[in-house]
Symmetry: C2
Subunit: 364 residues, 2 copies
């Protein structure tokens, strides 16, 4: 795979995405919105430069963020009467929490690498990591697999990954649909979407509203991208990057639910779209922002390589990529001590910053 092609693919949602709002995800701030919150994932952008000598930003790469914003505005206008609280459905003493997502252009990496047995884990991860941010335990999952011509061996691999993802998140694979639609997809290609439903007691829902100045930001390591990955170069080792990026998304469900059960967790952000800068404050009450200690965790080498060959500025990197972090927890100081002390190995947690007055994310 060429560097250009790879850079193009790299801006895929599992590693990055635009800062546009998600549509009705289970992010807890939805609880405060009396209407649907629709958003748009922009899954990939075209590289405007060739080679590593042209700086890239989302804007220079030609992504039309305005189109997404405009769609969100129009949907909000037509849907308020039926929406309820996006993502959260009141049901007795519980909220049923639902999330839907695809894996975006990470699929292209699967097509190019020929690795199809883990993309299903990514699919499950996208939805269950979302719903666990409200404190909900995932109950069941359904998948939609669409292709032009059914390849049984390939489909089996994909669904095997979905089965693995469901096992990792301790939820039932309740069903799915395989759509064979000639002429819709290129040979050997397919699309996937997934749908997860969970539940959380109404009095236990985590929605960020109790976050105060001085609370601590804890992140859980994204072990899918190992810190020990070899730094890829332009000398034939590039496939290492592809393989590293095909490492499946970490499913944080069990770890997060265990931490939540110990108390003190006030908000959670699943870092997929928008990288750091835009995802973290989404969970905060207005008037509060985040101070991030940039040296507080080790950025995986693959991101250093992307930044180098793409000539991308620090701020744009943080706005685009997760920088090795998949889940951010906002916890009280007391809870932070306990979480950090208990964490270890591949489940290691890091303190990366704290909640401050004033909106936005500041890196120091």
């Amino acid at each position: 795979m060429s560097t250009d092609r790879l850079l193009h693919l790299l801006r895929a949602p599992a590693a990055s995405s635009s800062p546009a709002a998600r549509r009705g995800s289970s992010n807890p701030q939805r609880l405060r919105l009396p209407q649907l919150a629709y958003g748009v994932r922009r899954a990939s952008v075209a590289c405007s430069g060739s080679g590593g000598d042209v700086g890239m930003t989302y804007k220079s790469a030609g992504v039309d963020i305005d189109a997404g914003t405009e769609l969100v505005r129009r949907i909000a206008k037509m849907a308020p009467g039926i929406g309820g609280f996006g993502g959260l459905f009141p049901w007795g003493d519980d909220y049923l929490v639902a999330g839907t997502d695809g894996v975006g252009t990470k699929l292209k990496l699967a097509f190019e690498s020929g690795i199809h047995d883990t993309i299903g884990i990514d699919l499950v991860a996208m939805s269950v990591n979302d719903i666990v941010t409200s404190g909900a335990k995932p109950l069941f999952f359904l998948d939609y697999f669409a292709t032009s011509k059914l390849d049984v061996d390939l489909a089996e691999k994909v669904i095997k990954g979905i089965v693995d993802g469901c096992q990792q998140s301790d939820c039932a694979l309740l069903g799915g649909e395989t759509a064979e639609m000639p002429g819709f997809y290129a040979d050997g290609e397919y699309d996937l979407s997934g749908f997860a439903v969970g539940a959380v007691k109404k009095d236990k829902v985590i929605d960020g509203k109790n976050i105060i100045e001085g609370d601590v930001l804890i992140v859980l390591a994204k072990s899918g991208l190992s810190l020990n990955d070899q730094l890829p170069r332009n000398d034939g080792l590039e496939t290492t990057v592809g393989e590293a990026l095909m490492a499946p998304t970490v499913i944080y469900v069990k770890q997060v639910l265990e931490i939540i059960s110990r108390g003190g967790v006030k908000g959670l952000a699943h870092i997929t779209g928008g990288g750091f800068t835009d995802n973290i404050p989404r969970v905060f009450p207005s008037g509060l922002g985040a101070k991030i200690f940039t040296g507080s965790w080790e950025v995986p080498p693959v991101f250093q390589w992307i930044q180098y060959v793409g000539n991308i500025e620090d701020a744009e990197m943080r706005r685009t990529f997760n920088m090795g972090i998949g889940m951010v927890l906002v916890v009280s100081k007391e809870a932070a001590d306990s979480v950090l002390k208990e964490s270890q190995g591949s489940n290691r947690a890091y303190c990366i910053g704290e909640v401050v007055k004033g909106e936005g994310v500041h890196y120091i």
Copy 2:
């Protein structure tokens, strides 16, 4: 649109589909399966003949039903441990009932006709009509919209249809995802999938197990294809067919729940894939079959036209198309009298047959 092209598109799932099993749909017979029931929708087939002079069957058209069957077999092998009862999730006194589906190649009709404001109704209909077959009231719906380049005006039309569908089925549009994935779809094309969740009291679930010989088959009119549609010909009136077929799928939720509330409903079949012959017996206990009175309802002219220009045999028509019928109810004789007496206008119900000893569907 040419006759050939139209015939090709006609074998789309809203009008027809293969008899392969659905994966984990909410069809009540799933209740009796201790593992996932996966299946495959084959959304379209290529026409093997040109013009109206070659008889078409699924087999002659080259659909590889064996591939779907093989995938189902393999998934059943890997998934039993986590599956539970496909489509039905026990939750307190209720079952949560979930269904996922797309609209298949009816999308191609939307692309060709330029009619995008009702395909969202089809999307919602596919899932909510499925889950209501277990007696479940739909609670909420989520959609996944995937395209290569976001066209705000087009997406707004599509989502407007989804909003309409949710209103018709009295469920909340809880969220969705818009995926913009360059290179996945042809210009102006997109794919859609939808997910619906409903609930039914455990002691009210409808699963067909009480069906006995002598029960009556009632169908609800598929008013989307009006009985008064002009019979299309090859003389320039063909677009009438396209428009007729773009008429949105009827959402039976409110009508069905109302009929169920009056008692005596023992089983329901949502006729999408497999037409009549394969869908009706899916809801029956083993050892029972159906006797259908072929003259008991009026087949919409559009199907007569399809049969004529495609030179398709009666049996194949019934196996492939819904023949104007969208929902079949299996009810006790007493309930049948009441349902037929109460029905009227566009909500008209017809008695089309009865339950008999011996498996399969017989037309008399």
